[in-house]
Symmetry: C2
Subunit: 188 residues, 2 copies
């Protein structure tokens, strides 16, 4: 990885010529076009992951945005199809990897659109159980090809070997650290 | 990838037994512990990327949070060390992969802490040029080991082969789609 040494290996040539901002931007664009990293940020997994998250969000909205659905809402409906008799907010939050308040907020939005129904649990009145409605299923089915297209576009630049390793590696990491990073974040 | 068929392959056995929310959560945890995917969400790159982003954020804050710095602030200081004579907000936004207003906001916070200095560009009064200060450099140097530790912890569960492919694949994707997803997102 050489992450420890990334300070030593940089700055890349593009940034050695300083000057006005315009030149900085041109240098960075040129470095990128030439296949070089515009900054040592590109050696840090956290940076690449944040950018990928933004990019996925952008591609998802390009494909599915006409229906004003977000990836989190789509994911929530997906999880609900796997629990036709309903699932409480805590379990839904676990599945989505979000915190309770964020999860409850997404569920409320979906309920307002008629895609899910929320009821108090029979055995436990403090618990709210969410269930997907017929309208929710119809909507999800209609949107499925657009969602799949956004996922396919995202990985299209990779070879199938790269895709396989990328997906496997991400699953290992999310599995290992599944208890981390559930807090609601308001900023990228 | 089989993404197209993910509806067919699921739901996983864990979710076949429905019932109360508590049971759902237990099922999901058990599936995860047993090495199975708790939901078909785990076959979608977008889901894994969002979770990884959250996880990185969590690990970063565990390692660096005592100094109340965020990954975006740290990254901004990093980019500024590569431009000792200053860089304007547009070029900085390009480097960070964020939009102008978000970038300007992060820069203002860093300026308030004395880590960067902002001045009107000599040749263009509409342009604000940001430069890292001595205090900023000292702070960055002090935080560098903690930042590196967060990056290393993130990838630690992977083999060096997996790390290499993951990093390479992410760079290809960010490079290819670098023009996507710069908009400020207020929600994960």
């Amino acid at each position: 990885m050489g992450m420890r040494n990334d300070l030593a290996r940089f700055p890349p040539s593009a940034s050695r010529q300083q000057g006005g901002g315009r030149k900085n931007l041109k240098d960075a664009r040129q470095a990128l076009a030439a296949g070089a990293d515009p900054s040592r940020m590109w050696t840090r997994p956290g940076f690449l992951i944040r950018r990928l998250h933004q990019i996925h969000y952008g591609l998802f909205l390009e494909e599915c945005g006409h229906s004003t659905i977000t990836p989190l809402q789509f994911g929530t409906l997906t999880v609900l199809t796997e629990h036709p008799r309903g699932i409480d907010i805590g379990a839904l939050a676990f599945q989505m990897g979000t915190d309770r308040s964020n999860t409850a907020d997404v569920a409320r939005r979906l309920a307002r659109r008629g895609y899910i129904k929320q009821e108090t649990a029979r055995g436990d009145r403090r618990k709210v159980v969410s269930r997907i409605t017929k309208e929710g299923r119809t909507f999800l089915k209609k949107m499925e090809p657009s969602m799949q297209k956004s996922q396919e576009r995202l990985l299209r630049p990779l070879s199938s070997e790269q895709r396989f390793v990328l997906m496997a590696a991400m699953r290992v990491l999310v599995r290992t650290y599944n208890d981390k990073g559930r807090a609601k974040m308001t900023k990228l």
